[in-house]
Symmetry: C2
DNA sequence: CGTCGCTTTGATCATGATCAAGGGATGTGG
DNA sequence: CCACATCCCTTGATCATGATCAAAGCGACG
């Protein structure tokens, strides 16, 4: 990672969260410093380890700085539902940290690097910096919006539509933190994990991906996903008027 | 509605939100007054009308004081997914009010009474009253937790499990605001709406309800739902260790 | 009394689960 | 350097859950 002579807003050193925010709202030097401050110190969690364990106390929030994690719920008979995929720049610990004990587990899929934000510090930040508070609330909102979209996937979309939507969402989200190219990215999940995310069985995920490939909408070589026909996929998945494109922070908050 | 000589915390006059909160955290007189203050003035929205329209600006939050509303998303071909059911005491407008325009519509299912909280007032409340801010964040968390549970429903539960889970969730939520008896309540949704909530077709909702009836788990006469075997339903739906039972506000917040 | 909205039931169909087996890469110990 | 194991992907055959289509029943209400 080279240190370039860039505006601090967009420099790599600022970290994925700050870069993501800088795309939707302009941050003052003081705010940049605050964001940097709450994102230290960091610690690493290695592949397969739990970041938050269901039923355990969780007195802090985290920012995922590097790697990929999943939040999931396991039913008594072993069926698993992945609630969301956590990418660099995402907050972890909402809503867990507001409950006595965490409701769901969060596990690192790859080796990860996370920053810890103690609750008292978070709450005092809310009190002292109204605009930063607004921005954090906006982040919570984005998470809620993604849940809502995910719900629509599972409730009312067919397997092809779900997978298409999933591939596009991942493209856009990875791009937001500079981890995807114009039309391609490295798929961070196995087909089993995709199945647990979309409520599908592994063979059916596989067949659905093949169908999308046969239709020339995507190309998949190894873990590399190439979106060959963005418009086609978007039409299929009803992605057009989608949430991510409208995830603009409201002026009321932007101006504090 | 009679005015009884009760502790203001639990009096009907306090409104459903305050009553709901009083169950999980003790509120000071000042906090009670603050809560009362943000819940005025009120306005009514009649059955079938939109409270928030998808794509429209939404510069405020609402508290639903009376009636039932749904948040939903409609796909281009008309399929509808209900994202959540809003009951008295619930906040409306999260996450809509943090975006330029609302992402989803919210419509009144019955005649409703709502209180309006302008965003500036909300943000200044966050700044001035840390504990109330914490409590509001906790409310957002509850909403996120319900989304997560709903996701598990749609992704990994069968039709019977979904319906069973839905009936129990409604019982518990209605009880939290004093709108259900020990084991029964008035179902506020038609079978079509239940279908759009659970991702099922109307005939299948009907057959599933019949199956639960035949198995002696519930009784349904008209709009009255009677849970005849709570334990049986809970086991079927994996409701046991569920979110609502652990929706206790964390001590860090309760103490401010 | 007739209409409208909702529920109920039946028959058929299809989406996607399940079961089963093989294939291919990557890694590890002998 | 090879045997073997593991993890993941792929494919096929069968099965079942739940959708769709169709129609009738049934209150409530004007």
């Amino acid at each position: 990672m080279t240190v370039r002579a860039l505006d601090p807003k967009t420099s790599d050193a600022a970290g994925p969260l700050t870069r993501k925010l800088a795309r939707v709202v302009s941050l003052s030097p003081e705010e940049l410093e605050l964001l940097a401050e709450i994102q230290t110190p960091t610690r690493s969690v290695s592949r397969g380890r739990e970041i938050i364990g269901e039923g355990r106390k969780c007195g802090e929030m985290f920012v995922l700085l590097e790697g990929v994690a999943i939040r999931y719920r396991v039913l008594h008979d072993g069926r698993r539902q992945i609630l969301n995929i956590t990418l660099p720049g995402d907050l972890i610990g909402f809503p867990a940290c507001f409950f006595e004990t965490a409701l769901y587990s969060i596990a690192a899929l790859t080796d990860t690097q996370i920053a810890t934000i103690p609750m008292p510090q978070l709450l005092s930040l809310f009190a002292r910096h109204r605009r930063v508070a607004g921005i954090l609330l906006w982040l919570f909102s984005c998470e809620a919006a993604m849940y809502a979209e995910h719900l629509t996937d599972l409730g009312r979309r067919s397997a092809v539509e779900r997978v298409a939507h999933f591939l596009l969402e991942l493209l856009v989200r990875l791009q937001a933190v500079g981890l995807a190219e114009e039309r391609s990215y490295r798929m961070p999940l196995t087909q089993e994990l995709i199945g647990d995310t979309l409520g599908l069985s592994v063979p059916h995920v596989n067949r659905t991906l093949r169908q999308l490939r046969d239709d020339g909408l995507v190309a998949i070589e190894g873990h590399r996903v190439v979106i060959k026909d963005f418009e086609g996929l978007a039409a299929l998945a009803d992605f057009e008027r989608s949430y991510l494109s409208r995830m603009r922070i409201s002026e009321a908050l932007a101006q504090g």
